[in-house]
């Protein structure tokens, strides 16, 4: 038996992937298929599922409501389309802002001395030691009407003798955006840093030697060579932001409902697993489509993920 194992590469391979394979089939593939089945079903009165084959949940998501004020049999209600659109917009905004903030920082860290570099990387990772939810609550303390930021602005206004009314910052799309940027920044800094750090210094010197000033060196050499890091970071940020509901739940309240919140509420509050399943699948498809077009254009940033 052991001898057979020693000689058979396919058998070794099977054994190596078996634990993950069993886990993933049991807890990802099968549930995903169940979700798909449920999404075509109907909800019964006590939150159970009647297994049928109806597209009702999807037409409802697309805006064809059967619950119309005018008494018509169906009408257009963009509620869910808006939620999906808002989620996509917010994920794109978050990704762009995170890239714009992470790139200069990663550049700075990559250019500092090796000793200081480790300190800086450590500092980037420190926030991740605190629980995700607690960090979002901290932003609530900062942004609420009686919060830290309003207090600070009030104090400054007081010194300058400017009339000041506390700003309503919490429960706005801006608050959710700030929270998302804050939560996902490290996941962009690290891959960009890795790709910048791998660029040999002699390439910058070669560019300068051939007549490129620092700005042209950046756009012709540094940026193209660090794109794998930007791409890897984008994948690490965009996909989770599309699905997360904690940040919008705490910082957006009822004002900023994202597709993640919608799904959560369907399962836990509205007790409509069929509609929740349909929303889950649509979220997945949307994410896949965006990621597909993005990676087809720029690649996966394989070099970075492989590191």
């Amino acid at each position: 038996m052991l001898r057979k194992l020693r000689e058979s590469k396919p058998l070794q391979g099977t054994l190596l992937i078996a634990p993950t394979l069993i886990f993933m089939v049991g807890l990802l593939i099968i549930p995903l298929m169940l979700t798909a089945v449920v999404s075509f079903g109907k909800r019964n009165s006590d939150g159970g599922v009647i297994y049928t084959l109806t597209l009702d949940n999807y037409t409802r998501l697309a805006g064809f409501s059967t619950n119309c004020d005018s008494g018509a049999a169906s009408c257009f209600d963009p509620l869910y389309v808006n939620i999906l659109g808002r989620s996509l917009t917010l994920a794109l905004q978050t990704t762009i802002f995170v890239i714009l903030m992470a790139y200069p920082l990663a550049y700075f860290i990559a250019r500092s001395s090796p000793k200081r570099r480790n300190t800086f990387l450590f500092m980037v990772l420190v926030p991740l030691w605190t629980n995700f939810v607690i960090r979002v609550y901290a932003w609530m303390m900062i942004l609420r009407t009686q919060g830290v930021l309003n207090g600070l602005l009030g104090a400054i206004a007081g010194v300058l003798h400017i009339p000041f009314a506390p700003l309503d910052m919490l429960y706005t799309p801006g608050a959710v955006l700030v929270g998302m940027i804050y939560e996902f920044l490290p996941f962009m800094i690290l891959p960009i840093f890795t790709s910048l750090e791998k660029i040999d210094n002699s390439l910058f010197e070669a560019a300068a030697d051939l007549g490129a000033n620092p700005i042209r060196t950046f756009f012709k050499v540094t940026l193209p060579l660090s794109m794998p890091g930007v791409i890897a970071g984008t994948i690490l940020v965009f996909i989770p932001v599309m699905g997360t509901f904690i940040v919008s739940d705490i910082l957006g309240g009822r004002q900023v409902i994202l597709v993640g919140n919608l799904i959560q509420r369907q399962f836990l509050d509205a007790r409509d697993p069929t509609f929740g399943s349909a929303a889950s699948l649509i979220l997945m498809v949307m994410t896949l489509i965006v990621t597909y077009f993005y990676t087809r254009k720029f690649g996966f940033g394989e070099e970075i993920i492989a590191v």
Partner: protein, 369 residues
């Protein structure tokens, strides 16, 4: 026309050490490089040759002193404003560009018209015999080919001076020898001044018009290969270039071109020649190359002839390399095998009595350090 292609005038480059001290990587260096010359800076690692080259390129600025290119002081001018180009040790090719894009890069930076770029890139590729490789990615090419692309990329800009930082170091021996000749021919063809940094003395001797031998941030000697080898001006240069034997002694006769040194270990006098100033009683060192010592079975001259015992002998094909013991002094002696024979009597072997003759014109007397 300017006097010199490159001149380093009293250049000092000080670096901070991690321990908080400072070290002069280049120490009051003076160097004048002529137009169209193949000039090598030769020395072991840490001698300041690469730092000097980087100061010409503009990657480093002198702490004090001045670098002149075509008589223009360069001051703190950045690399992208200097009329020189560099071939880097690791080639530093842009992997996100094709070979042709790599070569075009410098011309694009100079805003050369597209049609001319295309023509000049084609010419540059032909020049390094890679005419059909333009569309490849650099990493698809061999080390020698990448080396040529780096060369083409630098030369396509027609720099006043081409700087080469150990460009052949990563190649295997056979390819390196080929590239040495190719580089030398190319330099003759384009007529551009080459400043070449290497730690390989054979490479420097093969390719250079003139060599600067460097140590500890200073230039010890500048001269043509034959001067550096045949007339080293100090013990370090004699030792660094090629192989040699040293005999320590004291000057007993110091006439023009005729020096006699008493060598206590040989218990005898050695007649030699030298270009340094000596007076009687000065400490001196005689340097004599192993291939310039004559080995014989009989006593020949009365001068400079010493009885020795052959302690070891190694046949290496072209030469037989012997070690002899003269009154306790070990000398290396290389005999060329100019006769093809299997007869062992044709070659010297160990434990024989013999005589060595050190011809006075081969015994170079150098000042003791």
């Amino acid at each position: 026309m300017s006097d010199f292609a490159v001149e380093l005038r009293d250049v000092v480059k000080t670096f901070q050490t991690p321990e908080g001290g400072s070290v002069n990587a280049v120490d009051h260096l003076n160097m004048k490089i002529n137009h169209g010359e193949f000039f090598s800076m030769l020395g072991s690692s840490g001698c300041g040759k690469t730092t000097s080259l980087r100061m010409i390129a503009g990657f480093e600025w002198p702490t004090t002193g001045e670098v002149y290119i075509e008589d223009q002081p360069q001051g703190h001018r950045p690399p992208f404003q200097r009329p020189v180009n560099t071939v880097f040790q690791n080639y530093a090719l842009f992997q996100h560009m094709t070979v042709a894009q790599n070569i075009a890069f410098g011309l694009e930076m100079d805003k050369v018209p597209a049609a001319e770029i295309k023509r000049r890139v084609g010419e540059a590729l032909d020049m390094v015999k890679l005419g059909n490789m333009g569309k490849r990615a650099p990493r698809q090419l061999s080390g020698g080919q990448q080396q040529r692309i780096a060369l083409a990329r630098a030369l396509v800009k027609r720099p006043k001076v081409l700087l080469l930082d150990e460009p052949l170091g990563a190649l295997d021996l056979k390819l390196r020898k080929e590239m040495q000749l190719e580089l030398k021919n190319l330099q003759r063809e384009v007529g551009i001044t080459f400043v070449f940094v290497t730690h390989d003395q054979e490479e420097a001797l093969t390719m250079s018009d003139r060599i600067a031998v460097m140590s500890h941030g200073k230039v010890l000697q500048i001269g043509a290969p034959v001067e550096i080898y045949e007339r080293p001006n100090c013990k370090f240069v004699a030792d660094f270039i090629g192989d040699t034997n040293f005999l320590e002694g004291e000057i007993t006769v110091a006439e023009k071109d005729h020096l006699i040194v008493f060598v206590p270990k040989l218990a005898g006098e050695v007649h030699g020649m030298g270009e340094s100033e000596f007076k009687v009683g000065d400490k001196a060192i005689i340097s004599i190359r192993p291939e310039k010592i004559r080995l014989s079975e009989q006593h020949t001259f009365n001068q400079n002839c010493f009885q020795v015992k052959i302690t070891s002998s190694a046949y290496i094909g072209s030469d037989t390399r012997l070690e002899v013991d003269a009154n306790g002094v070990r000398l290396k002696v290389w005999e060329q095998n100019h006769i093809s024979t299997l007869d062992p009597r044709a070659y010297h072997h160990g434990e024989q009595q013999a005589w060595v003759t050190l011809f006075p014109e081969n015994a170079l007397v150098l000042p003791a350090e």
